[in-house]
């Protein structure tokens, strides 16, 4: 296969971008869920 390096580079970089994007979504969602738990606990605590 000619230009195999370029073909693999295109697919690997492309899927790398998608993977990093998915990781960033998962990380941001998990941080927000932790924030929701914290806020709920602070609201339940008697003032």
């Amino acid at each position: 296969m000619k230009n195999l390096g370029s073909i693999f580079a295109a697919y690997l970089i492309g899927w790398g971008v998608f993977f990093l994007f998915y990781l960033s979504i998962a990380k941001r969602t998990s941080d927000l869920r932790a924030e929701i738990e914290r806020l709920k606990n602070s609201l339940l605590r008697p003032k």
């Binding site: 296969m1 000619k2 230009n3 195999l4 370029s6 073909i7 580079a9 295109a10 697919y11 970089i13 492309g14 971008v17 998608f18 994007f21 998915y22 979504i25 998962a26 941001r28 969602t29 927000l32 869920r33 924030e35 929701i36 806020l39 709920k40 602070s42 609201l43």
Partner: protein, 224 residues
């Protein structure tokens, strides 16, 4: 949660099958050789990106009309996913172009309009990050999103209106255009796979946006 895992697994299986078909089922193109196999991933991402921007446009229009935050969430989710897909198009394009054209990049109509599209949606997300107040942020970004979408048809028609460096359209491109029947099947399978994958990313990003909205509501409650 189970539905999301099933959806993600299905999307992953489709894109893996698409890549397998691009490498092992599609025949080698006569003029360009194996490097043309990037076509399935590059154009699949581009078509999915344009359709995701269309959904973003609909979300923006609906927000301006109804002022319902869920349309704002849909708009920003699609804008981000469309931007990522366009980034992949802008990366894979030059990797394909270099061995074929002998250059990485040229300011031709298709490439320039795609780059402008990328810049417009980067601006859309930047604009959102600069406005604190939720309603104002949603309205201004929806209006900007409607304006940004004007570039999508321009990208699509650029290779029909101007004949520059980028190849002429393969489909509905007039005499001499078209694909080998096996290539066509592999191509449309990859387009379908990229659409399923894009829909999965939009769904995940939408969940994130709704969670963000929930945090904002709780913060208001805590401050009150």
């Amino acid at each position: 949660m189970v539905k999301r895992v099933i959806f993600g697994t299905l999307a992953l299986l489709f894109v893996i099958a698409g890549a397998y078909a691009a490498f092992f089922i599609a025949p080698t193109e006569r003029t360009m050789g194996d490097i043309q196999r990037i076509f399935y991933f590059h154009v699949g991402s581009a078509w999915a990106g344009m359709d995701v921007f269309f959904v973003c446009f609909i979300g923006n229009l609906l927000y301006v009309w109804r002022r319902d935050p869920k349309y704002d969430s849909l708009g920003v989710s699609c804008a981000e996913v469309g931007l990522v897909l366009t980034t992949v198009v802008l990366i894979t394009g030059p990797i394909w172009a270099h061995p074929v054209w002998g250059i990485w990049w040229t300011w031709d109509a298709r490439l320039t309009s795609t780059f402008v599209l990328w810049l417009l949606y980067v601006s859309y997300l930047l604009l959102r990050s600069l406005i604190e107040e939720a309603d104002r942020r949603a309205l201004l970004s929806a209006l900007f999103g409607i304006f940004a979408y004007i570039d999508v048809p321009l990208v699509f028609f650029s290779i029909r209106w101007w004949r520059t460096q980028h190849p002429a359209p393969v489909f509905m491109g007039g005499e001499g255009s078209g694909l080998d029947p096996i290539m066509k099947k592999v191509f449309f399978f990859n387009v379908l796979a990229m659409h399923i994958f894009a829909a999965f990313l939009v769904a995940e990003r939408y969940v994130l946006e709704r969670t963000k909205h929930e945090v904002e509501l709780l913060q208001h409650e805590a401050e009150a």
